[in-house]
């Protein structure tokens, strides 16, 4: 019997993804574990592996198709001896073995929640996405037209205040919302934060026609725009900067690197300053559990482990892979894990569980010679550490001007979660770990 290969859910929240590329073509023999296709989500490109053996009978969703709904049939797999004509339409009954899995999807609750297709849906007309649950577990009521416009513009319906009957989200509400955010128009009376920005046509009117190119937003750009804007609108930020001496840390780094085991004539690991900072921040937060927390309306989430997201710049964007339980890991382990994550981030090969979550983050622009900067908290984190360049400075010690290598580290804090004195103490602890780095290996 032909088996439908379904669009996999790569993460619990994934509703749709882009079918980036087919790696097999119609008629190709496929065995379990073969990579069939690449799926692109807002942050990563994932591989879809075959679970069954057979022949790829029919590709239903062409590569380059955006916004394919999770669980929509994307191809039909034929078993031995089955005729290709049987594959002209998706298999009538979803095969029990489908969907094809991607590693990350295995434990995904989304797969269980997603509606089960009961008959072969027309490939061109995917069923409308099931109503999304918002944080309070309430169903989002929206008119079909509102849903469609929201989908087109990348607007999250769950954050729009509906002005229709019983709070139903209608066309007008979506049209008044800003793409990428979903923050409702203040006019709809929902008490939402934020203000409508200038409409696109007004912005364009400020420039000579033809004097610019329009680059469509990809999923990553939309996500960054939406999350950062939400953060700046919702999270009450404040910033504390400290100057930290690096000389001891640099010395220890050199010594430790000289002990790195070799393989094929190359060291297996090479500690960077950033690896030390990851460990230092992890231990700091472990000492200040009140800062290792997330704001929720119902109560503060105080996290038991310290999971640190590290911002990695990649072409056209940014992603923050996460070192989990960094406080428990040895520096060489952190270093090796970070190299692997950064490499795969640049290739857009990270799996969602490798970049989703985290309890804080580090943004390090030191390599660009930046002297000082502040970063935007990425909720549900409550802090982010902005690390600037280490440089030799003239400092006064015991009334003497001496040369010291220093860097400026600035923490951005969510004032809903922690207050100024708390973060000041936090930065004292951090400074201590960096300036007396032996604490990082004890």
């Amino acid at each position: 019997m032909p088996i439908n290969i379904l669009m996999p859910a790569l993460s619990p929240t994934m509703e749709r993804g882009n079918l980036a590329k087919w790696l097999k073509k119609e008629g190709d023999k496929v065995k379990s574990g073969d990579v069939l296709a690449e799926i692109e989500t807002d942050k990563a490109t994932m591989e879809v592996e075959a679970v069954d053996e057979g022949v790829l009978g029919k590709i239903l969703i062409a590569e380059g198709t955006n916004d394919v709904a999770v669980n929509e049939p994307i191809a039909v797999l034929l078993e031995e001896g089955e005729d290709a004509s049987a594959a002209s339409a998706p298999a009538a009954k979803p095969a029990e073995k489908a969907p094809a899995t991607a590693d990350a999807g295995k434990s995904s609750p989304a797969a269980a929640e997603a509606p089960e297709p009961t008959a072969a849906p027309a490939p061109a007309a995917p069923a409308p996405a099931a109503p999304k649950l918002n944080g309070l577990g309430a169903k989002v009521f929206a008119s079909p037209l509102a849903r469609r416009i929201a989908k087109e513009r990348g607007i999250d319906l769950s954050s729009i205040t509906g002005s229709g009957p019983h709070g139903r989200v209608v066309k007008k509400d979506v049209e008044n919302a800003r793409p990428g955010t979903g923050a409702g128009a203040p006019a709809s009376g929902g008490g939402q934060f934020g203000f409508p920005l200038m409409p696109d046509d007004k912005i364009r009117a400020l420039f000579e026609p033809g004097s610019y190119d329009v680059i469509p937003h990809d999923g990553m750009r939309k996500t960054i725009a939406s999350r950062m804007q939400q953060s700046k609108v919702v999270v009450p930020h404040y910033y504390l900067a400290v100057d930290v001496d690096l000389d001891a840390l640099l010395k220890m780094r050199e010594e430790m690197n000289s002990y790195a085991p070799m393989s094929d004539g190359k060291p297996v690991w090479r500690l960077s300053v950033n690896d030390f900072i990851i460990k230092a921040l992890a231990l700091t937060l472990k000492k200040h559990p009140e800062a290792n927390a997330s704001w929720t309306e119902g109560g503060m989430l105080r996290h038991k482990g310290v999971d640190i997201g590290v911002a990695v710049a990649i072409p056209d964007g940014l992603i923050t892979p996460i070192i989990r339980n960094a406080h428990e890991k040895a520096l060489p382990d952190i270093s090796m894990e970070m190299s692997s994550l950064a490499k795969r981030a640049r290739e857009r090969k990270l799996k969602p569980h490798e970049y989703q979550g985290g309890t804080t983050a580090i943004s390090n622009l030191g390599m660009y010679g930046v002297k000082h900067f502040t970063a935007v908290v990425n909720p549900p984190h409550s802090t982010i550490l902005a690390v600037a360049a280490g440089e030799k400075r003239a400092v006064v010690r015991n009334d003497q001007i001496v040369i010291a290598t220093q860097m400026t580290a600035t923490i951005s804090c969510d004032h809903r979660v922690l207050d100024g004195a708390e973060s000041a103490q936090l930065m004292q602890t951090f400074k201590g770990y960096v300036e007396k780095p032996v604490g990082l290996v004890m």
Partner: protein, 479 residues
């Protein structure tokens, strides 16, 4: 509260005014309606309802002539004009009594007479000018009379009257408006209808069916000017098949009256021609009744014959509202009713939505019937929208064929990008009863997808609606 003091006074007891009054009473307001002649207004007394009664007679008469097609025999069908008109007037009377009953039930006070706003919050009522539209009407039992009345909110719902063009002034004898046309003393052998809007074509249809020689003159290039061009062209073909003579892009320059006829000089396509008919109906539109009700005294802003309002019936003067025809087009009873309800609910402070004129359906009861809602294809394109158009003819519908009414067309217009239903336009049997399906769909903001997923019962004319939607997306089944 003193006897002459109300929360809300509504001037005019037509479909806008009387419905607003009922809603106001439901919301607990003390409410009065000032009316000079007919509770229920033009709609019940001289418009929608009595004309539907006449057209029903014409329809049955038409079927008498078609009897053979259905295997029936009717010998020499004939009619009694007096009885037809009497039936129509009787139904109008029943409507009128119905409104009086509703007022009583809802404890709405009637003030009988000509009302005028003297200042914000106050009207004066004088004895009614008798017989503005028809024979003198007695005040309903229990109605208050001349005097001064006060209310925090005054809603102007004075309606509209036929537009009069110079040279085409109605004289009640040979040049009729709809009043005479629905109350004729004798049946005219020939008739010239000036104007091809809803009123014009309904009377053209009625008199043609009853055997008159009918010519319709329209100044614009298209009959039924507010309708979609495809529908107008379809209807025109049907009218002409019935023998109605139609001149478009034609202007009546003058009317010369003889003893028993009127000769119209008509400029059409750079030439002049004359048409002689026994009677002329001037159906060149209606204008709002904004005069002599004191709007100037309180400084209410008007524009081109109608009161300027926001989407909730509010005028520029606090405490003065306007709804229905007097508040501007589309001048339709159901639009007036809706505005009346919205206006009162907004006064109460309820959450209401402003009227979306694009979602006001229109129905014309000529043969074949016309019904539409939303944008025409031309309007949609004018707005720069990329559209998907569906068309389905009634000949592909089993029920239409069984009814012996295979002539009809259902056209739907979707936004190609979002699937929004922008407009629906129908002509054919019973389409005035079908259109609300599309109106509901538009109000619920459905896209083509939900319409395609909706099961339309078989066999019904409504299946043409679904087929038209399918056609817009290249999926039509029965064609």
């Amino acid at each position: 509260m003193a006897d002459n003091q109300f929360d809300i006074i509504i001037i005019g007891g037509g479909p806008g005014g009387y419905v607003a009054a009922i809603r106001a009473a439901q919301l607990g307001f003390k409410v009065a309606v000032a009316e000079r002649e007919h509770l229920g207004g033009i709609c019940s007394n001289w418009g929608c309802i009595p004309t539907k009664a006449l057209l029903r007679s014409a329809e049955v008469y038409h079927y008498f002539h078609q009897a053979k097609n259905y295997g029936l025999a009717v010998e020499k069908p004939s009619f009694d004009l007096k009885a037809i008109v009497q039936r129509s007037r009787g139904i109008a009377g029943q409507m009128n009594t119905g409104v009086q009953f509703l007022f009583k039930k809802n404890k709405i006070t009637t003030i009988w007479g000509d009302a005028k706003i003297t200042k914000v919050g106050e009207i004066t009522v004088t004895a009614p000018t008798k017989g503005v539209l028809g024979p003198p009407v007695e005040a309903p039992k229990g109605a208050l009379g001349a005097g001064t009345y006060k209310a925090a909110h005054i809603i102007v719902a004075t309606g509209a009257r036929p537009r009069v063009l110079p040279g085409l002034e109605p004289d009640k004898k040979q040049v009729w408006t709809y009043f005479e046309a629905m109350n004729p003393e004798s049946f005219p052998k020939s008739l010239l209808v000036i104007g091809s809007g809803a009123i014009g074509v309904e009377f053209a249809s009625f008199y043609k069916t009853m055997g008159a020689d009918v010519t319709v003159v329209e100044v614009l290039p298209q009959i039924l000017p507010v309708e979609d061009a495809d529908i107008a062209a379809f209807a025109r073909k049907q009218f002409e098949k019935q023998g109605i003579k139609i001149l478009t892009g034609a202007k009546v320059a003058k009317l010369d009256k003889a003893k028993d006829s009127v000769t119209a000089t008509i400029e059409v396509g750079g030439k002049t021609e004359t048409i002689t008919a026994e009677k002329v109906i001037s159906a060149v539109g209606v204008v709002g009744n904004i005069e002599n009700i004191g709007l100037e005294a309180v400084g209410v802003k008007t524009d081109r014959g109608v009161v300027v309002t926001d989407g909730y019936g509010r005028t520029n003067v606090k405490g003065i509202y306007a709804i229905g025809d007097v508040a501007g087009p589309p001048m339709l009873a159901h639009k007036a009713e809706h505005e009346g309800v919205t206006c009162v609910e907004a006064i109460k402070g309820l959450k209401v939505h402003a009227l979306d004129k694009n979602k006001v359906p229109g129905c014309t009861y000529c043969h074949p019937q016309i019904a539409s809602v939303g944008l025409t294809e031309a309007k949609a394109k004018e707005q720069g929208r990329e559209v998907k158009i569906g068309r389905f003819p009634f000949i592909g519908n089993g029920k239409a064929i069984a009814l012996g009414e295979p002539e009809g067309l259902c056209k739907t217009i979707f936004d190609a990008k979002t699937g929004e239903l922008l407009g629906a336009h129908l002509s054919g049997a019973e389409v005035t009863e079908l259109i609300q399906g599309f109106v509901v769909a538009m109000n619920c903001e459905t896209t083509e997808e939900e319409l395609m997923h909706t099961i339309f019962p078989h066999p019904t004319l409504s299946e043409t609606m679904k087929e038209s939607v399918l056609d817009a997306y290249g999926r039509v089944l029965n064609m």
